[in-house]
């Protein structure tokens, strides 16, 4: 495990285009912070909201993100039956300092907010107003989490040449919960440095990014992976930590509650709190430390959960 850049976790901001008449809905959802067009900022401030004015030019300059979730990709061959997941964690890992904007359809706001929060991304959320309640609940949950600004942990590095091919490799690594760091040049901190276009990682191999990610998984070996997830193929994780503790972020892209998700982490840890959006703090189940690893089951996860462990 290697520690990466410190990520500052902050709440994503809701970009709101409706007028002041929508104030009751915002208040009912518990949303107190807004991003609005500059000419509306004063009015919203006067209404008691914390406001960040966002000019159109800034909004347009932000990297647009696809709506997170699972999607059917009919006719596309895949080596497994695993559903196709649209997730943005790999983008945040690749460019942690970039600024992002989501424009998500109904039903996706809470997941988008959790995803951005989990990676400490600077993200603005354009949402469907019908999502206000769910989003407000998620934001309140995120805000109430114990602070833990911890660096990311990774098992391998991807040398980022900025290409779309390398981006897709990162996407598929994240899809498999293979924890990676994006680096500019090969890093001696990692046993595996993936540089697409080199002899070990020919660009033609990367044309099938799923197989490419599987090849890297085989090189790393499952035994050496810091993180394993059992019981679902639609929960993607970000792991952060320092020598004294770790925080595991779990994002469920499947849209259905999952019970009894099993997690395995290399190393010996003690439980320090599990927080499940929509359910609050829950005890971990079947906690076990053996063979150099810690395992536990999360009783349930809806959209997002955080597990804190200490050495």
């Amino acid at each position: 495990m290697t520690r990466l850049l410190l990520a500052v976790l902050s709440l994503p901001c809701v970009y709101w285009t409706q007028g002041l008449e929508s104030r009751p809905q915002l208040e009912a959802a518990g949303i107190k912070q807004l991003c609005v067009a500059p000419d509306r900022a004063a009015a919203w401030r006067a209404a008691g909201f914390s406001v960040s004015p966002i000019p159109d030019a800034e909004l347009a300059s932000r990297e647009a993100l696809p709506a997170p979730g699972v999607t059917a990709r009919a006719g596309l061959a895949s080596p497994t039956r695993a559903p196709w997941i649209v997730a943005n964690g790999w983008r945040f890992t690749r460019a942690p300092g970039a600024r992002y904007v989501y424009d998500v359809p109904a039903g996706k706001a809470a997941l988008a907010a959790a995803e951005a929060f989990a990676y400490g991304a600077d993200a603005i959320l354009k949402i469907d107003p019908s999502d206000l309640k769910d989003l407000g609940t998620m934001l309140a949950f995120l805000e109430a989490l114990p602070a833990a600004d911890l660096p990311s942990l990774a098992d391998l590095a991807v040398v980022d040449d900025g290409s779309a091919v390398t981006g897709e490799v990162m996407n598929l690594l994240a899809r498999r919960n293979l924890l990676f760091d994006a680096v500019k040049t090969p890093s001696p901190r990692y046993r595996i440095n993936v540089a697409v276009g080199t002899r070990d990682y020919p660009v033609e191999d990367a044309a099938d990014p799923s197989a490419f990610a599987l090849k890297i998984r085989r090189q790393l070996t499952d035994e050496q992976r810091t993180l394993r997830v059992y019981g679902s193929e639609v929960v993607l994780c970000r792991l952060t930590g320092d020598p004294s503790r770790i925080r595991l972020h779990l994002l469920n892209y499947g849209g259905r509650d999952i019970e009894g998700l099993r997690i395995r982490l290399r190393g010996a840890y003690k439980e320090d709190g599990a927080y499940v959006a929509g359910a609050g703090r829950l005890p971990l189940q079947d906690f076990a430390v053996a063979d150099g690893a810690t395992e536990f089951s999360l009783p349930k996860i809806g959209t997002y959960a955080v597990v804190d462990l200490r050495r």
Binding site: P79, L214, D222, V229, S232, G260
Partner: protein, 339 residues
């Protein structure tokens, strides 16, 4: 497994057990078939004594049914009800009898409750086959294997099996299976007691050759599965494990008894293959690419000469190499009984 009677199978047949024009079973005949089968298997003088060879009042007994062939070929109500009746006669309290399957929605479809006395527990590990309910599985008892590069490489045993039951009665059906060739004792107890098993067969290829036996051999499932009663009142010779249409349903009209799942499944291979041959269909042993239409279940359902996966009927013989039973017909004893 293989229990006290390795290589021994009692096959009880009755032309009166099922009305083939309606598919309805005859309770009384089924009851007599079970009584004769159990007495013949054990050599006991009475039916009650035969059941007491396996069960006592302290046991917590699981009955592993098969609901996958709903509506035409599932573990028959008549057989399940008679098994429950005999267990209670042996002194097992109703509250210590569990009927189980992996998926609640399948149990709901079949709906055994009206056929059973109050008190029998009918339980499943998951609501449906959606890979979201893991709480019903034991996180400490699993097979870890990477078949196709899937991310979730574990198949966990049901908690009911690992933590609650002391004995299990396995009641599979006589069924064809698109990935394993047949689904009998081994497949029913193995794939019906573990999570995340569909991952072993996809895109034309099946790893069931080794997976079925490996799962069946895992403890405590192996030692707790003490009795095999194969329901051959009805069967499906193609399109299995499903039986959504009557087109491939047939009526072997027999029940097989034993403690050795390999021996019974060895006979099942021939039952299904002979029926397929009689119907002009390709053998379950066919591995030709000409017969293979990967993932085209519609073509498979329409044409018994289509496979969607290369079947692995060799899983039965493989299971014998794990010590689960006798595969060699020459070393088996099959006793036929007619009612």
């Amino acid at each position: 497994m293989p229990g006290p009677y390795p290589g021994r199978v009692v096959s009880v047949r009755s032309d009166r057990c099922v009305d083939v024009s309606t598919g309805a079973a005859n309770d009384d005949v089924v009851r007599e078939m079970i009584a004769r089968g159990m007495r013949t298997l054990t050599g006991a003088d009475t039916t009650a004594a035969a059941w007491r060879r396996f069960f006592d009042p302290s046991d917590v007994v699981g009955i592993k049914v098969n609901c996958g062939g709903y509506p035409y070929v599932v573990s028959a109500y008549e057989i399940v009800a008679e098994v429950v009746r005999q267990l209670t006669s042996a002194g097992v309290p109703l509250s210590q009898i569990y009927l189980y399957e992996r998926f609640q929605n399948q149990l709901d479809e079949v709906n055994y409750a009206p056929h059973l006395p109050d008190g029998v527990r009918i339980v499943a590990a998951e609501h449906a086959n959606r890979n979201v309910d893991n709480s019903g599985y034991d996180p400490a008892t699993y097979l870890e294997a990477d078949f196709f590069g899937e991310d979730d490489t574990r198949s966990n045993m049901m908690r009911l099996v690992s933590e609650r039951l002391t004995k299990i009665i396995n009641i599979p059906n006589v069924k064809d299976h698109g990935a394993t060739g047949v689904t009998g004792c081994l497949k029913n107890i193995a794939y019906g007691s573990f999570s995340n098993v569909a991952r072993t067969h996809q895109r034309g290829k099946s790893h069931t050759y080794s997976a079925v036996g490996t799962l069946a051999a895992m403890e405590p499932l192996r030692s707790r599965t003490v009795l095999q009663i194969m329901d051959g009142l009805r069967g499906v010779w193609h399109g299995g494990p499903f039986a959504r249409t009557k087109r491939y349903v047939f009526y072997p009209r027999r029940i097989l008894f034993g403690t050795d799942p390999v021996a019974i499944d060895r006979l099942l291979l021939d039952v299904i293959d002979e029926k397929r041959r009689a119907e002009g269909a390709i053998s379950i042993w066919d591995r030709s690419s000409a017969s293979l239409k990967v993932d085209d279940s519609r073509a498979r359902d329409a044409d018994p000469n289509v496979n969607i996966i290369i079947r692995e009927p060799g899983h039965v013989e493989y299971a014998s190499t794990l010590g689960l039973g006798v595969y060699d017909l020459a070393r088996m004893t099959v006793q036929d009984v007619t009612v």
